[in-house]
Subunit: 401 residues, 4 copies
Amino acid sequence: MTVTSPAFDTLLARYTAVRGRSLALAAPLSPEDCAAQSMPDASPTKWHLAHTTWFFETFVLEAHEPGFQPFAPAFRVLFNSYYNGVGAKHPRPQRGLLTRPSLDEVLAYRANVDARMARLWPTVAHDDALRGLIELGLQHEQQHQELILTDILHLLSCNPLFPAYAKASDAVAPEPAGALAWHSFDAGLTDIGHAGSGFAFDNEGPRHRVYLHPYALASRLVTQAEYLAFVEGGGYRNPLLWLAEGWDWRAAQGLEQPLYWHRIDGAWHHFTLTGLQPLQGDQPVVHLSYYEADAYARWVGARLPTEAEWEHAAAQGTAGMAQWHGAAWQWTQSSYAPYPGFRVAEGAVGEYNGKFMVNQYVLRGSSSATPSGHERLTYRNFFPATARWQFTGIRLARDLG
Amino acid sequence: MTVTSPAFDTLLARYTAVRGRSLALAAPLSPEDCAAQSMPDASPTKWHLAHTTWFFETFVLEAHEPGFQPFAPAFRVLFNSYYNGVGAKHPRPQRGLLTRPSLDEVLAYRANVDARMARLWPTVAHDDALRGLIELGLQHEQQHQELILTDILHLLSCNPLFPAYAKASDAVAPEPAGALAWHSFDAGLTDIGHAGSGFAFDNEGPRHRVYLHPYALASRLVTQAEYLAFVEGGGYRNPLLWLAEGWDWRAAQGLEQPLYWHRIDGAWHHFTLTGLQPLQGDQPVVHLSYYEADAYARWVGARLPTEAEWEHAAAQGTAGMAQWHGAAWQWTQSSYAPYPGFRVAEGAVGEYNGKFMVNQYVLRGSSSATPSGHERLTYRNFFPATARWQFTGIRLARDLG
Amino acid sequence: MTVTSPAFDTLLARYTAVRGRSLALAAPLSPEDCAAQSMPDASPTKWHLAHTTWFFETFVLEAHEPGFQPFAPAFRVLFNSYYNGVGAKHPRPQRGLLTRPSLDEVLAYRANVDARMARLWPTVAHDDALRGLIELGLQHEQQHQELILTDILHLLSCNPLFPAYAKASDAVAPEPAGALAWHSFDAGLTDIGHAGSGFAFDNEGPRHRVYLHPYALASRLVTQAEYLAFVEGGGYRNPLLWLAEGWDWRAAQGLEQPLYWHRIDGAWHHFTLTGLQPLQGDQPVVHLSYYEADAYARWVGARLPTEAEWEHAAAQGTAGMAQWHGAAWQWTQSSYAPYPGFRVAEGAVGEYNGKFMVNQYVLRGSSSATPSGHERLTYRNFFPATARWQFTGIRLARDLG
Amino acid sequence: MTVTSPAFDTLLARYTAVRGRSLALAAPLSPEDCAAQSMPDASPTKWHLAHTTWFFETFVLEAHEPGFQPFAPAFRVLFNSYYNGVGAKHPRPQRGLLTRPSLDEVLAYRANVDARMARLWPTVAHDDALRGLIELGLQHEQQHQELILTDILHLLSCNPLFPAYAKASDAVAPEPAGALAWHSFDAGLTDIGHAGSGFAFDNEGPRHRVYLHPYALASRLVTQAEYLAFVEGGGYRNPLLWLAEGWDWRAAQGLEQPLYWHRIDGAWHHFTLTGLQPLQGDQPVVHLSYYEADAYARWVGARLPTEAEWEHAAAQGTAGMAQWHGAAWQWTQSSYAPYPGFRVAEGAVGEYNGKFMVNQYVLRGSSSATPSGHERLTYRNFFPATARWQFTGIRLARDLG
């Protein structure tokens, strides 16, 4: 990871805040809610709470705590996500079968690791590398905070009772974004990617030069009303609009609308963290696969942006362009690949990002479920083209000239 | 069902006892334990608790309670197992995703239905058919009590921590059964199947005549030590011992021993309700598929009994024959089929048994997990040839003459 | 096998006739037709031609030919169907990939084995066991002659051109069977199964006693017109008519009519060996699974017969009962199981029948595709409940008394 | 397609040569060989012969032949590969079941279309667009000529007899490529992609500018001996060398070496068009998936090139660099995506390339199976990361500076 070590005071405050927020996210949930796994791609809340703690225990305490003893030796395997360098892993599709340890035990695990981390703070103050590693652990936990929300939404969506995670009154409706306008960008060289002293994941660098062809970007994301026109206009019935693989995938599953959309007595609804709600026409459409995003773009004679186009435009803070962050992750047509000069980190944390660089597509921006402060101009989120359970939407692009 | 209505006092006491025992079975379990589903064949404890209650609400209260109002309309679908006559059903493989209603809500549902049943008792006293239906509900609940144990054992077996459902000190080790002896039975006509005034499921009748050829039955079930000799003697490597379909099934899954058997540092263990334990050589081997039972029998030059042979012998109470009940369900070579003259009951309860009469094999006896008093000479349990998570074992048979 | 050795002259004539008929069956087919495999259950014609030859080479010549040398060592594996006792087998689902050896080479293989068999005949005359083995090989080849027809029909059915195997003018339409009548049979003991000096497969014996309850059998098979009424009367839409497993199977595959039935411009057709033809209302319905046969029987308030009921009735030659043979294989509700006292033969041929005795149902009679003279009163054909590509139909039964 | 219409005389000669070569490729094959399909990704030779003919009939004759009548109306569906704009398609996995039309009928179809094309030539001389379309048809047929070889190799590889397509004496062993050297390229802007008057597929343009970072490329492809060191050095056992998805794929299939490699009595062989042969240590390794190519590169501290790096280097004809063409298709780390400004062609041929631009990786160069003259500097071949049955190898790259 590209990490200039954060200042000690800041880090301590951040540690407390980030760790506390994970607990707050789990607060509305019952032990059963926290334990269930609705599909292999999603994980139980309890698992997220334990795995983020495992990260600190394994990558920070194990190396730096005098007389290190694991809280529970079995947790090393149970809560390892995908780090082959750490050893064995519990099979991902079976995370929902781990009814033991109980939620209470996992909360005790969190408290234990937090207490041991507290004893480590005097050391931390003088160790740049260690502060960098802790910051990585916090960024990692923030990623899982978003997953807690996407995964619990998916779980609750499988329940015919349509239970709500939160009260509707708690939801902050984002500002509607106004009419769609196109902003043009000239051809030329530009630099993208992370550089400098702030935190970034390793996959965001090195900062490097790219040549861009003239292009235009939409001022805002595609709305639910706009996407509804595609749905009702036969967009899911016309193979000529779709990538071949996307069409086969759509047909095999009989998909006719975005994930979580339901037509009930003739009225369109979508299932959200506040339960089943009427579509909000001026809000961004979310829960789209890459295939759907691409098909919609073709339908309106546009395309998805590349990640370089997105970052170049976003970096300029062009007046009138909105929803870069906090509205939805925005599919790009860029396959997730290493930047020129990319090197994976030494040791097990080197498995963090690089080994996923195949058959995934980069998403830029951030969503309504992204923790505040976690978003970044150079952030590279990535998911397979089939992923729909994330808060994924569309910003349109066009070739110019 | 062949039901001569039980006496009122008896039934009331039974209702209280049976309903209470379900709660007792769930008592050692956390809400998470009660909610998880480890495979499509198994159901969450919470689902069992709710479904057995649904049975009374749907088949008893709905027809007989003045001003019937369902506890929760959605439960009619959520907790319907397989009754097409009742309407829609929640998909079986997704029972583990029902984190709502919570365990507390399901317990409240149970209390509510029990209270409404209590108000119905004055009517019950004078209604033979109603008493018969309530008895069916209790027998049904007892079946699910066994499933609670088999399903929770399977769930816990998926956890690498090998958690125990009960303390080892709570387990009552059955009497070892002594040396295996063969008992002979002459050819001739005999009657099998249920008749008379006691309760029996519809599939146990009508009582009818069959002709038996001379045969011998083993005095007790195959032990773990005997089966271990088959395992270590290459029984799982020799296709000539297996039914062709069984061999393909075994090979595809790479099976080399019974379900729940583990060889740890050279010593054989099995996972049980009291956790991981050393094999108990003189106890019956359990958790065998039909294929394994059949292969073992062939290995020792024997075969599985027919259900008529089993019942004919068991009915005689032959001295020296043991383990008819309470040790293990005993695979027979009899495919589950209707007895001559079998008629399904009118209405939705007619779906109870008959529609499963294909590609399943009859098991006789009862197991250590069968509720006391639920066993019966004419009882016909049935499972597909692949089923291993039940307490299923082997009593050998041989042709004579 | 229960084989009293056939007389020498008869056997020689039979050998020539049976071997020649296999070639005649393949004559209308191109090399491509003979090589393709349309599903794992079906085999290419070329494979049938080679495997039946392999049977003679492996079980007759290898043991009895002086200085035995295989025609081609690789064929021992390529054309072994399922005999583990013989050694390795080419995987069944890949039989259609064996473009080499070519059809010409397989025909040369047949000629070679036939020539070597001819040199063996002097020995055969004096060896009862050998004559028995040759008879088994011929019966085996006759079984594959039926499979050549069922498998080629399935292959051609996958071709949207609907090509015909034979000219319609070659088809002999069986006599229509008249109005359906019921014939009653009393309760009592009867003997079924093969005994005596003629050929029978091992699974047809030993002859043994069974007790039958009073029953009635239909005088003829269910016709296409009768079954069409079930199709058009919603039979495929009502789960209460179906075995639970059958309903799930039907729903998963979206089945709405028998295999090979097509509704074209409002008119019902079926695909046959003479191509696409209009339904023949008074002819037996064929290509039904056990599930469909069972559901139809339930729809008309009847059931499928047991194999003992079928044989008992057929043995009596009751006046007015028709279509015992040559019309369609008739599903029975009897699971395929060993008769009392059944013993598999010594050696590899012992794998012929016994190891398939699980999860299959017995079919009695014979079909329009069965070679003339191959049918037998005690014949036990068997297929899984899902099988539809055989010529399988329905004779109804009812309980009496 | 970017097509400047070829001169009339050239085109006529090319038509005759290309069409004739397809027949020559099929000449060593029997009708059975030509009809079989070994996996959904591969097609029968007969299908290739028919589909390439269908292309001319559908896209050339249908629009330009006076009084157009199809050779056989059903062929429009049977031999449509993936053009939704043309209408229905026969399901791809069932191409091997089309035993009718026979090979002879397909050859007659070819002759018929060639004859009709001959009558069209006078028109062609004066119609630029039509000549362009014919050239596209020929390029299309050349692509299928390579597929005929890759698909027949796969089919024959499924046969335990290891039959050879051609005599070993017919194989031209390419020159060994000498020691591996690295050639460096400076950072800077360069133009890649097709421009100008020659033929190219639409996906090769528009020519456009890219910025390259300093890099080095290997002078030749990785050899079989080098790759063998990876195999024997545990490369297939170390997850840290693999992309996560690649490792899971490898493990699920138990892969331990390239496709077609066999270790026989301790000696490594590979199956080729001339049958089973010993490894040729100095020849390029082929039949690798993207995952294997990527893992090998990581093992030697290198990476795969981008397609821009490859084209930039190849365009310069750098002395000492070899095997750009004719040795193996060379995996690049570039996901198959549209070039800036890419537009799909109007009409059904617009489905030729664009709709496959997701989850595939670009391969550059050409292989030993590519028809002579079909290769091109800007050629963009593409396959999913799992593809192994093509002649796919590795040219290594490195970051510099």
